[in-house]
């Protein structure tokens, strides 16, 4: 075919493209499935997810705290049991907290309680294991005893001297695991107490046993930088995930969905260049992906901020999106969204039905997500080479821009790479969408269509 004799001027082409894009976007969001996955789910999902996480966490923590566990102490002979071991295990770790009143301290002490059972010695380790497992030290239990949730077994060496402590617990019982956790935290404090007593008894004076006081470490990073660092670990990879997920349904809906609805022929009859029609579809998919991503990130940020405020340790962290970094990264994100939308739209055009389109795009999604995850791995640093690899470059550039340390060269390479790929993907997508063997195909699977496509060379304008 020769060039069209009535090709419209660029403004008319652009106007037609935008009109198609607007119509496709509007009709996409009139589809319940697309609206649900693109708009409703992000708004509802993250707050619900975080709320559920907090509730479950509080429930489990609370349930654990109010549970009193019974801990047994056993040894091959009574003499090797360290003095005050039972009391040490019953002692909650930590002293009074700053600003904590007596009532609060008393209430705190009522939580995480450990009840030390009377020592059983002599008792070998097999007997101690049976005590935890069955509640009696032998098959023929001669006396009813309280079944311990865990047992601290004191070892002796060949000379009959105390050798070490071993905690015996049952991983299939929740209370036993709680007991293990409490014992593990309390034994070091108890050991420190023993060491202090011994040191006091043998102190030669002059502070030689304690030459300096070890003070807590202090983080010198400014709070906004900590917030930005936190964002940089999650935001880039989430952006990739959400863009791909956001483009998924519109891409399927506007290509094979249209074929399934039998409106493809109607669309091809539009009195505008086919390239404007197809470009309009890609634009609509891209816009839907960006809307979905924006909503996802906003909902996520608000939910995360709420969550952070609820956590005492994180309450001082300022998590704010750095506006300058976001403006700098915006062109890259836009190019990436174009790239993703073009690829998904082009590939889904091979499918004949909505269902087939979904099945086809599933593996394609993974092709985007895996490099994104690889780019977010700790220790992966941006280089000009990595900046040229699609998806990885978006994640790394986004991450480094949030941290404020991205070089101009890497930025330029990533932008050039994404621009080239976007143009190539749009070209590929337009080529696929314009194949007459595809757009009017009513039979055959995606693979049959692909085969027919390779055998045929006809395009349409």
């Amino acid at each position: 075919m020769r060039n069209a004799g009535s090709s419209p001027a660029a403004p008319a082409f652009l106007a037609a493209t935008l009109r198609v894009a607007w119509k496709e976007l509007a009709t996409s969001f009139r589809d319940r499935q697309t609206t649900f996955y693109t708009l409703v789910l992000p708004i509802v999902l993250y707050p619900f997810l975080f709320w559920s996480m907090i509730q479950v966490s509080l429930f489990l923590e609370g349930r654990g705290e109010i549970t009193e566990v019974a801990v047994g102490i056993a040894a091959p002979q009574p003499s090797i049991v360290p003095p005050g071991l039972g009391a040490g295990l019953e002692q909650p770790p930590g002293s009074s907290r700053e600003g904590e009143d007596a009532a609060a301290e008393a209430a705190r002490r009522e939580l995480n309680r450990v009840h030390a059972l009377p020592e059983r010695a002599p008792l070998d380790e097999a007997g101690a294991r049976a005590w935890v497992a069955r509640g009696s030290a032998s098959e023929a239990a001669e006396e009813p005893t309280i079944r311990p949730d865990a047992v601290v077994y004191v070892h002796e060496d060949e000379a009959g001297v105390r050798d070490g402590l071993r905690v015996l617990y049952d991983s299939t019982r929740t209370d036993s695991k709680i007991a293990l956790s409490r014992i593990t935290r309390r034994i070091p404090a108890y050991a420190t107490e023993l060491r202090a007593s011994a040191a006091d008894a043998a102190d030669p004076g002059g502070g030689s046993l304690e030459p300096f006081v070890r003070e807590p470490a202090r983080n010198v990073a400014p709070q906004p930088a900590i917030g930005a660092y936190l964002l940089s670990t999650v935001l880039p990879v989430l952006f990739v995930l959400m863009t791909v997920m956001g483009a998924f349904f519109p891409a399927v809906d506007l290509t094979c969905g249209e074929r399934e609805r039998r409106t493809m022929e109607t669309t091809l009859l539009l009195p505008i260049p086919r390239s404007a029609v197809h470009l309009g579809k890609i634009l609509a998919v891209c816009a839907a992906a960006l809307i979905a991503t924006g909503l996802n990130l906003t909902a996520l940020a608000l939910s995360a901020e709420h969550l952070l405020r609820m956590l005492p340790a994180a309450s001082k962290i300022e998590v704010q999106l750095p506006v300058r970094a976001m403006l700098q990264v915006a062109p890259l994100l836009l190019l990436f969204a174009f790239f993703v939308s073009s690829v998904l739209t082009g590939i889904s055009s091979l499918a004949r039905t909505f269902k087939e389109g979904q099945a086809l795009l599933g593996p394609v999604q993974i092709l985007f997500v895996l490099p994104g995850l690889a780019g977010s791995l700790p220790g992966v640093e941006i280089t000009p080479f990595l900046a040229s690899i699609p998806v990885v470059n978006v994640v790394l550039c986004f991450r480094n821009l949030l941290r404020g340390d991205l070089g101009l060269l890497e930025y330029a390479v990533a932008a050039a790479s994404l621009a080239a790929l976007s143009i190539a993907a749009i070209g590929m997508s337009l080529w696929l969408l314009s194949r007459e063997s595809l757009h009017l195909s009513e039979t055959g699977s995606a693979w049959t269509n692909l085969r027919g496509l390779l055998l045929s060379s006809k395009g349409s304008r």
Binding site: M1, R2, A4, G5, S6, S7, P8, A16, R19, V20, K23, T27, R30, D31, R261, R262, T263, E265, T266, L268, L269, L270, P271, I272, P273, E436, S437, L440, E442, T443, G444, T448, N449, R451, G452, L455, S456, K458, G459, S460, R461
Partner: protein, 276 residues
């Protein structure tokens, strides 16, 4: 059709009267071939050098069995498919050289030109009208005219997915004639329609003929062709076997009924068994 309907008459021929054929050819195809590769069937020659001409104000019926090449012919003329070789002109425009201009000058309707289910009839018409470059005020006037002409006011703002088959067909017709095209290409326009909707479609075709529009349509329903067509072309295995008025075809075959004429032509072409 009156100006009230949003469509203007072209040639003043009266329905039912002897057709007064305009000299200008609205559709002209010469040696049209369409070959494509089907992944299952291999190389398929859907059209083998088809010649066809249709004039302004004429209703031309394309008759043929399934797989004869009717839909392919109409799709090539509507620029949905590109011809492998040969030439086709619609309203003087070469379909291969300027498909965009051809699309501006035709109204196309077939069983597979569905309506956008999530748009309302009014939105559908507005969308097509704007893309046809119709100015907003004029477009509004035309849409109102068509809504009245086809009795669509009641459901003009309801989504197309909720409309009945007959209502959808009316919207499709309105969509096809909104830009007042000089050529209408209709691929089996009454297939799947009930008696009322079919009757409305036949009435519509008749009215467009009166307005001077060139109408090329394919059909299986021979009674429709007998009633409506100024000329009939019988297509079989990608070739036109015969073209003429019903009288001419009767004389040529010696058969009184179109069904017999059709079978006789196919038999002479050596394909009776295929049609069977």
């Amino acid at each position: 059709m009156s100006a009230e309907s949003g469509l203007s008459p072209r040639v003043g021929t009266a329905s039912g009267a002897e057709p007064k054929l305009a000299p200008r050819l609205s559709i002209e195809a010469k040696g049209l071939r369409k070959v494509y590769v089907d992944p299952r069937r291999g190389r398929v020659e859907a059209l083998c050098g088809l010649d066809l001409d249709c004039r302004a104000g004429e209703v031309y019926g394309l008759l043929g069995p399934n797989g004869a090449g009717k839909t392919t012919t109409l799709r090539v003329l509507a620029t949905l498919l590109a011809p492998t070789s040969g030439t086709a002109r619609v309203d003087g425009i070469d379909v291969a050289a300027d498909p965009l201009e051809v699309r501006r000058r035709i109204g196309f309707l077939s069983g597979t030109t569905g309506l956008y289910p999530r748009l309302t009839p009014r939105e559908t018409l507005t969308y097509f009208g704007r893309l046809h470059g119709i100015e907003a005020g004029e477009l509004e006037r035309r849409i109102d005219g068509l809504l009245d002409r086809f009795g669509m006011r009641e459901y003009a703002n309801a989504r197309c997915e909720g409309l009945s088959t007959g209502q959808r067909q009316k919207v499709s017709i309105a969509r096809a004639v909104l830009h007042d095209p000089p050529v209408l290409i209709l691929d089996e326009p009454t297939t799947g329609l009930d008696v009322l909707a079919s009757s409305a479609m036949i009435e519509f075709i008749d009215s467009r003929r009166s307005a001077g529009t060139c109408i090329l349509f394919s059909t299986h329903v021979l009674s429709e062709a007998e009633r409506l067509c100024d000329r009939i072309g019988v297509i079989f295995q990608g070739r036109l076997l015969a073209v003429g008025t019903l009288d001419e075809l009767q004389q040529r075959t010696g058969k009184p009924w179109l069904a017999d004429i059709f079978l006789e032509l196919v038999r002479r072409a050596g394909g009776a068994a295929d049609v069977g």
